[in-house]
Symmetry: C2
Subunit: 321 residues, 2 copies
C-alpha cells in the first residue's frame, strides 16, 4: 500500500496552492475570528477531498485554477462539518488537537462552522459558472440530511444496514462524490466520465466511513488522533454492531457491554464483534466498495493519474488512521 | 404608524410566490427532515427580509422572478441564523412556538440550520449570474463574524458602544443591507442607487437590532413571542446597559440587579435603565438610524414604493414585537 506522502507527492505544488487559497478565504478583519481560524490550522487533516478534486482533474485532463479553488471549497465545507460534528459528538480531541467546542464552547463552534460554510460558498461563487456552486451546495445539504437521519436514529437498536447505508452515503459519500465530479467536470471531461468519477467518489466515501466506524471501535487514539468509542457513547449504531445485532440471539445481545463503554468496555465490545465476525463483515463491505470504486475508473484511459486514483481507493480502506 | 398587514398588502401576490419557493426549497425525500422543516413553518416570522428585497426592487423598477428567489434565499439564511441563535441562547420559545433545540435537541438544531443554509445557497445558485451568490455568501459570513464577536464579548462589562455597533452591524445589518442591495440590483438600478439601498438596509438593520435589544428588556412574551431577558441571562451587554455602565458611578452599578434576572429582577433592571435615561438613549439611537435610512432614499424618485420603504423604516423602530 502507498503511504500518504507517496500519494500526495505528485500533487505537491497544487496542494500548496490549495492551502494558500484556503488560508486566504478565511482571513477576517476581526482578531477574534482570526484566532479561531488559526486554531483550525491544527485541526486540518488528510486533505483527502482536495486531493480527490485534483487527482480526478488530472485523470481527466489539465488542472486549472478552478480546480485549486474547488479543492479549497470542498475542504472548507468538510472542515465546517467537522467543527459541527465535534459539537454533536461532544468531542474533546481531533487530530491530537483540542476541538473548537472544547476550547471556546459550543456556541463559538457552531458559529465558526457557519462562518466556514458561508466563506466556502463565497469562494465557490468566485467561479463564474454557477454549476460548481450547485454541486457544492447540493452536496452540503445532502451531508446535513445524512447527519439528521443519523441523529434521528440515535439509540435505535433496530437500525437496519440499509438505513446505515443511506446515512453514510449522505453524510460522507455525497461530498467525496462531489469532489471527484467537480475535478472531472472542470477538466472538461465528457458527461459519462463525470458520472463515472462521481460514482468512484461515492464508493470510496462509503468505504471511508465504514473504515472510520471500524476505527472508532478498534483504533487507538495515538493513531487516529480522535477520542475513540464516541459512536457507542453517542448511541450511534455502526456497521459492525448492526451486523452483530442482526444475527445474534437474545443471549448474545446480553453479552454486549454497556452502551457507554469506558476503555474496559470498549475492549470487551471489540472482542465480541471480532469473535462474531462482525468486524470482518464490515471490513469486507468496505473492501467491496473499494473494488466497485476501482471498477468505475474503467471510464478513464490508463494513465498515471488513473493509477493514482486506484491507489487512493486502496489507501482509504487499508488505513489505520 | 402603518400596521404590518398594511405594509405587506402591496406585496401580497409576490410574498405568496416567495413562500412557495421557500417551501419547495426545503423539500426532502427524508421524512425526518420533512418533519423538522414543517416545524419551521410555525417559527416563520415577520418576513422582513423578503419584504425588503421586494420593496427595494419595486422602488427601483420591475419585480422579476429573481426577486422572488432572492427573497426566499435571504429568508432561508435568516431562518438558519435563528435556529442556531436559539441554540446559542438556549431559547425554549420563539414566535410562541417551541424551538428546534428544545424540541429535538441542540445537535438536530445545529444540523437543521446547516441544512437551511446549504439549501439557501443551492437556491441562490439557481440564478445564473454569480453576483447574487457572492452578495448572499458574503453577508452570511459577516453575520457569523458579528455573532462570533458577540460571543467573544460575553460577560465583558467594559464593552464599548463602538464594539456593540460593530457586532450589530455585522450580525443583523449585513443581511438587511444585502436584501435591499439585491432588490435594487435585480431591478436594474444604477450603481449609486444600489449603494444607496444597501445603506438604507444597513441603517434599518441597526435600528431593528437596537429595538430587539430594548424589547428584550421591556417587552412582554405575549407580544414579542420570545423568552424575554435572554440577553442578560447570556451576559450579552446591549445598548441600554452599555450606556448605563458608561455614565454610572460604582454606587449606581451596585444598584443593578443580579445578572441572571428572573421576572422580578428584570423589572428592577428595566426600572433602573428607564430612570437613568439609558433606555431613552437607546430609543433615540434607533430613531437616528431610521432617520439616516430615510435620508438614503433620496437616491430614488418619489413613488409609492419609496414611501413604502419609508413606512417600513418607521415601523421597525416603533414596533412592540
Amino acid at each position: 500500500m502507498a503511504t500518504l506522502p507517496q500519494l500526495y507527492e505528485p500533487l505537491g505544488v497544487h496542494l500548496k496552492r490549495v492551502e494558500t487559497i484556503f488560508e486566504q478565504a478565511l482571513l477576517s478583519d476581526m482578531p477574534c475570528v482570526e484566532d479561531l481560524c488559526s486554531h483550525l490550522r491544527h485541526l486540518r487533516g488528510k486533505m483527502l477531498r482536495p486531493v480527490l478534486v485534483l487527482a480526478a482533474g488530472q485523470a481527466c485532463g489539465e488542472l486549472t485554477k478552478e480546480h485549486h479553488t474547488l479543492a479549497a471549497v470542498v475542504e472548507m465545507v468538510h472542515m465546517a462539518t467537522l467543527v459541527h460534528d465535534d459539537v454533536l459528538d461532544e468531542a474533546d480531541v481531533r487530530r491530537k488537537t483540542i476541538t473548537v467546542n472544547r476550547m471556546s464552547g459550543n456556541e463559538t463552534a457552531v458559529m465558526l462552522g457557519d462562518f466556514l460554510i458561508s466563506r466556502s460558498f463565497l469562494l465557490c461563487s468566485s467561479i463564474s459558472c454557477p454549476k460548481a456552486s450547485q454541486v457544492v451546495a447540493r452536496a452540503a445539504a445532502t451531508v446535513c440530511e445524512g447527519e439528521l437521519l443519523q441523529l434521528h436514529n440515535r439509540g435505535n437498536w433496530a437500525l437496519t444496514e440499509q438505513t446505515y447505508q443511506t446515512i453514510i452515503e449522505r453524510k460522507t459519500a455525497a461530498l467525496t462524490a462531489a469532489a471527484c465530479e467537480l475535478g472531472a467536470m472542470y477538466a472538461g471531461a465528457a458527461q459519462p466520465v463525470v458520472a463515472g468519477l462521481h460514482e468512484y467518489g461515492r464508493h470510496i466515501g462509503i468505504a471511508f466511513q465504514i473504515v472510520d466506524d471500524i476505527l472508532d471501535i478498534v483504533g487507538r487514539q495515538e493513531q487516529t488522533g480522535k477520542t475513540p468509542g464516541s459512536d457507542a457513547r453517542q448511541e450511534k449504531l455502526t456497521l459492525p454492531l448492526i451486523h452483530f445485532l442482526a444475527q445474534s440471539t437474545n443471549g448474545d445481545r446480553q453479552r454486549l457491554p454497556a452502551l457507554h463503554p469506558d476503555g474496559q468496555d470498549r475492549a470487551g465490545l471489540q472482542k465480541i464483534l471480532e469473535q462474531s465476525g462482525s468486524l470482518d463483515y464490515a471490513r469486507r463491505t468496505a473492501h467491496d466498495c473499494v473494488a466497485r470504486a476501482i471498477r468505475c475508473l474503467a471510464c478513464l484511459p490508463d494513465n498515471p493519474a488513473r493509477r493514482h486514483l486506484r491507489s487512493m481507493a486502496e489507501f482509504i480502506v487499508d488505513r489505520q488512521f
